[in-house]
């Protein structure tokens, strides 16, 4: 009798854990701006350089004001799933408040398939940049990745003027196997 109760309890616990684990996939991303936000906004765009049809250097915002945001890396990964070595590079932009913002920006080599990243070279440089966007202006995350120098920064789309500071790595910014 006790054994049966113990087994039933274990099954119930497992079921609850499984439900909890499954439902985490349904968690929604916290919006950067509430739907009813009426304050001044600007636009922040991600950018990328396609190096082949399977590989790109991506420059994107990962986090704005402590809120994780969708970006070119995740959007491209979703679009490229199930397409083998073909990368479908996506264009991503988002509205940001035209008030002082703290943005975590990343420059990273991305591949169409994880196996390519494992066997290939992945450079990454990231850091936080603070700036105050001007109302209705467009900004772009730009960068450069290479064996001896890597950098990522934000600039005005129209004039190319850099805002905030430039995150730079002099020397190799290559990621180790376990960091990819």
């Amino acid at each position: 009798m006790n054994v049966r109760i113990a087994i039933a309890g274990a099954v119930r616990a497992c079921a609850m854990l499984a439900i909890a684990a499954t439902m985490t996939a349904c968690a929604t991303r916290t919006p950067l701006l509430p739907d009813n936000y009426a304050g001044p906004t600007a636009v922040l765009k991600d950018s990328a350089d396609m190096l082949s049809m399977s590989k790109a250097d991506m420059y994107y915002a990962a986090n704005i004001n402590a809120v994780d945001v969708d970006n070119v890396r995740f959007a491209t990964r979703r679009a490229s799933e199930g397409r083998g070595a073909l990368m479908l590079l996506q264009k991503v932009e988002r509205r940001i408040p035209a008030t002082p913002v703290k943005v975590e920006i990343v420059a990273r080599t991305a591949y169409a398939m994880p196996i390519m990243a494992m066997t290939g070279t992945v450079y990454q440089v990231k850091g936080k940049v603070e700036f105050t966007p001007e109302r209705d202006k467009s900004y772009v995350v730009r960068g450069k990745l290479g064996p001896s120098y890597s950098a990522v920064w934000i600039e005005e789309e129209a004039g190319g003027t850099m805002v905030g500071e430039k995150i730079e790595v002099n020397g190799s910014a290559e990621l180790g196997f376990l960091d990819k």
Binding site: D49, M53, S54
Partner: protein, 212 residues
């Protein structure tokens, strides 16, 4: 026996389906003003030059062979590109490409600045769409010339041009602007060459090259 033949025919139809070619066409970008070779200064005999061609994609020399598993960017056939550029120079009447009795060299730098990511996305969407359809892509190029004759040299500014290419699944829409991609591309090369030479003429570089 009939069933076997039918099966073979069905298999052939399925396999050969992959060999069908997609109809393509192109038309020039009307936003860019056309120029004419008659605007160039007259020469008794065209300047004979050797030609070097450099093909870039977004300012970088494309990798000729992508690493294992990766798909390399498609690039132009070097011989076809060379022939098209030779024809473009010949039609200006100002320069002819000659390997034998050349007075100097002309280096042509062509940079493909098209949005290839957008083209790939459009192609995939078309392939996944049910039924017939077509996609239009803007193909943009920049060109610059570096001419060396003896100890004199002239470098043209970079000029930009574009055309639109159309690819359909089975049938192209009716459009009077449509021509073959080859002819539109050759026309663009010629326009770019003339615009480069006109810029060199405007700043006096062509006259300096011709001076004894």
């Amino acid at each position: 026996m009939k069933t076997f033949l039918l099966l073979c025919a069905s298999m052939c139809a399925l396999l050969l389906g992959g060999c069908t070619t997609y109809p393509t066409a192109a038309y020039p970008d009307s936003a860019i003003a056309r120029v004419s070779a008659s605007d160039l200064p007259r020469r008794e005999a065209p300047l004979k030059l050797k030609m070097e061609v450099q093909w870039l994609r977004n300012g970088h020399a494309p990798e000729t062979s992508a690493p294992r598993l990766e798909i390399a960017f498609p690039g132009p056939d070097p011989l076809v590109l060379r022939n098209s550029l030779e024809a473009a120079f010949r039609q200006t009447g100002f320069i002819v490409i000659s390997e034998d009795d050349a007075a100097g060299t002309v280096k042509v730098t062509l940079n493909d600045v098209s949005d290839i990511a957008e083209a790939i996305n459009q192609g995939v969407l078309l392939g996944e769409k049910w039924g017939d359809g077509y996609v239009t892509n803007k193909e943009e190029l920049t060109m610059s010339l570096a001419i060396n004759v003896g100890n004199k040299s002239a470098n043209s500014p970079t000029v930009r041009g574009a055309f639109y290419s159309v690819l359909a699944k089975s049938r192209l829409p009716d459009d009077p602007r449509f021509q073959s991609i080859k002819s539109v591309q050759e026309d663009l090369f010629q326009q770019l060459v003339i615009r480069c030479l006109l810029s060199l003429n405007k700043d006096g570089s062509l006259q300096r090259l011709q001076a004894p």
